[in-house]
């Protein structure tokens, strides 16, 4: 005759152990997958940082004095230096208070 109580106890114990085992396997697998994802994200981050550094380098190269001067010489922004024969020298009058300054002095030359 089968003792129901005993069988139930065994079944519960086996089920419990089974769940424990499966949970362990699941968690282990999950840990492995998450680890892989972390590594992949880290690699992506490193690549993005490197890419960012490269872009920053390109920006600083393209905005450097040397390149800007070359672009200016290539007439890129259509600015040409004022020729010597287009410059005159005049004696400006002594300014009275509140008088506007001579045109050559307008604006900071940055």
């Amino acid at each position: 005759m089968i003792e129901v109580g005993s069988v139930t106890r065994w079944l519960v114990a086996v089920f419990f152990l089974g769940v424990m085992g499966l949970s362990y396997v699941y968690l282990k697998n999950h840990l492995h997958t998450t680890g892989g994802q972390i590594k992949s994200l880290e690699s992506e981050l490193t690549e993005l940082t490197a890419e960012n550094d490269l872009l920053r380098t390109k920006i600083s190269t393209l905005s450097s004095q040397k390149v800007l001067q070359r672009r200016l010489d290539e007439n890129f922004i259509k600015m040409i230096p004022i020729a010597e024969d287009r410059i005159v020298r005049i004696y400006a009058p002594e300014p009275r208070t509140g008088e506007i300054r001579a045109v050559s002095n307008e604006g900071p030359a940055k």
Binding site: D53, S60, I87, R89, V103
Partner: protein, 606 residues
């Protein structure tokens, strides 16, 4: 004995017990006695460490324009133990690594053979580990490839099922402005150590701290993140912000370039300094070099002449005896000195002027650059006092600017002077100075007699932007009184006026002051060369409250006629062009009693 089942079973049991006992002993031996050895072996096989390179700090100008920065690249390495096809690898990698295909294939085959020999030797127990360089042999250390190129090469390897070459992260230094400011910035050698300029002097600050990563990997080399790893993040080096203004630097570079092409001097130097603080706003040397493309054949071009080279300054040095004489109240600006019509006999030798002159005021001695007048001022001062003032102006000692290789200069003490020295020193002979010392002394005149320490570094900033070290202006000493300095400045204004030695140095619209220098080059046997001169001009703008001091110096320029071989003729106009643009850049307002330069443009009607 009868071989009944009981006996056989007993023997079998004993046999099993014996065998298991041996196994047990072996297990205990391996697990306990050999524990450390095998743990280390396992660690070697499954743990790897990786260096995480710390980027070097950025060098910027005062307006935060980047002057030097790291660019991430990849360097190719070969692992002899996993190379499977040297010829195939050479076909893929020879071109990007700038190597000959046959040479690369040979190198890889040799590495493969070395790795096989090492493996056999290890198995035979002759060696305990693979010799260094077999598993991480660098291929062409002079060439690195970009991240994109490295990725495409690895893809190509995978497609062709090739093994044995891998990439490690590295960096190269990029100087966006090429040769501009090269002597101030310096460059890096193969070991990423700074050589010359700021790269060398502030190497410890710019250099970051490398990090590391210690991790476990599986048989294929893939990292087992689940088992955790140790990592220390790299710490980036500090950023260095210079006092240099690239706008001004560009102005000086362009003008000095033009002068270098026109006059073909041995060297040329241009410096702009802010006298009130001692900040160097621009520093240019010719010849120059491109730190992005270094070649070993022109090492001489890498010298920072502005701080390393010693020259006899010539007449610019007259500011020293005149400043001293005003300070000691031995002369006033209007005191009259007889300049002997160009013939002054002293110590058995005749001293000449560049043209005969009679009685001159001390102001005119400077404006017309009379050697005899300066010599007489020197004689009145006396040996000891003149020497003391020369030293007070900073000659004969390093300025301690933050650049390597600075010369102290040569100033002999009076007990080593000849009888003629007292007449030679006031006109800038028998003394060796650097261009930086010269502009620093002139800056003292411009700054009310206060000698400031030249500064090239504004501040050092950490990764978060916090200031680690700042460099406030340092006053070294009060050389001469404010009144005496002003008197010298007023006298120097005459140099650029009609009758002065450098009319061509005058900037239209702004009253400036300055001094020319025409020094004969020293030749062999301590004599002077008659056709080689160091031509210079050191001026300040505006004269009443100088915003900047600018030095232009050309060593042995080629001129058409001997009449042109004067500082005022050659260096003066270069100064004028630089100073005019610099004044514009610094928004210096022109005076109204001098002619202004106005562009003819169409007037706007309102």
């Amino acid at each position: 004995m009868k071989w009944n089942p009981k006996v056989r079973a007993t023997i079998a049991c004993f046999g099993l017990v014996f065998i298991f006992t041996i196994f047990s002993f072996r297990l205990v031996f391996l697990q306990v006695a050999k524990h450390d050895q095998y743990t280390a072996l396992a660690a070697r096989k499954h743990f790897s460490s990786e260096i995480l390179y710390a980027p070097r700090g950025v060098i910027e100008d005062i307006n935060q324009e980047v002057l030097a920065e790291d660019v991430p690249v990849r360097k190719a390495f070969a692992d002899g133990s996993i190379i499977n096809d040297p010829a195939g690898l050479a076909e893929v990698f020879a071109k990007p690594l700038e190597m000959d295909r046959g040479q690369l294939a040979g190198e890889l085959a040799e590495l493969q053979s070395l790795a096989t020999q090492a493996r056999l030797a290890r198995l035979a127990g002759r060696i305990s580990k693979t010799p260094p360089g077999v598993c991480d042999h660098i291929l062409n250390k002079d060439v690195s490839v970009s991240e994109e190129v490295a990725a495409s090469l690895l893809d190509e390897m995978r497609k062709r099922s090739l093994r044995g070459i891998f990439f490690k992260p590295d960096s190269v230094r990029n100087y966006p402005n090429g040769s501009m400011l090269c002597h101030v910035l310096g460059y890096l050698n193969h070991d990423h150590a700074g050589v010359g300029g700021i790269e060398e002097s502030l190497d410890a600050k710019l250099h970051g701290r490398n990090g590391f990563r210690y991790f476990e990997h599986d048989r294929t080399g893939k990292e087992l993140v689940a088992y955790g790893s140790q990592e220390q993040a790299p710490r980036r080096g500090c950023d260095v912000r210079l006092t240099v203004d690239m706008g001004l630097q560009n102005i000086v570079e362009k003008e000095l370039d033009a002068a270098y092409r026109q006059y073909k001097p041995v060297t040329a130097v241009g410096i702009i300094m802010r006298p009130k603080t001692g900040e160097i706003l621009a520093m240019v040397n010719r010849p120059d070099f491109d730190p992005n493309e270094l070649s070993d054949d022109k090492l001489q071009d890498r010298r920072n002449v502005a701080i390393e080279s010693l020259v006899e300054p010539g007449s610019v040095f007259k500011i020293v005896p005149v400043g001293a004489a005003f300070n000691e109240k031995l002369f006033s600006p209007l005191s009259v000195i007889d300049c002997e019509w160009g013939h002054f006999k002293y110590g058995g030798r005749i001293l000449h002027d560049h043209k005969p002159m009679g009685e001159l005021t001390v102001q005119d001695v400077l404006a017309k650059s009379s050697n005899i007048g300066a010599a007489k001022i020197g004689i009145t001062l006396g040996d000891q006092r003149l020497y003391e003032y020369i030293r007070k102006f900073g000659f004969g000692e390093r300025t301690d600017v933050s650049l390597p290789g600075e010369s102290a200069g040569e100033v002999s003490p009076p007990y080593r002077w000849s009888k003629l020295s007292i007449t030679r020193l006031p006109m800038g002979q028998e003394v060796g100075v650097t261009p930086l010392q010269l502009i620093t002394a002139m800056s003292a005149i411009a700054n009310g007699g206060r000698l400031m320490m030249p500064q090239i570094v504004h501040e050092i900033v950490d990764e978060q932007g916090g200031v680690v070290t700042s460099f406030p202006p340092v006053e070294i000493r009060q050389v001469i009184s404010e009144t005496a300095a002003k008197e010298v400045r007023v006298a120097l204004e005459g140099v650029e006026r009609k009758g002065g030695t450098a009319v061509a140095a005058a900037v239209p619209g702004i009253i400036g002051a300055g001094k020319t220098g025409t020094a004969q080059r020293k030749g062999p046997n301590n004599g002077y060369l008659h056709d080689k001169y160091v031509l210079s001009f050191v001026g300040m703008l505006p004269a009443d409250d100088p915003e900047f001091v600018c030095l232009v110096m050309l060593d042995s320029p080629t001129v058409k006629t001997q009449e042109e071989n004067y500082g005022g003729q050659v260096a003066g106009p270069i100064f004028e062009r630089i100073a005019e643009k610099a004044a514009c850049h610094l928004n210096i307002v022109p005076h109204f009693d001098t002619p202004l330069r106005i562009a003819l443009t169409q007037a706007k009607t309102r």
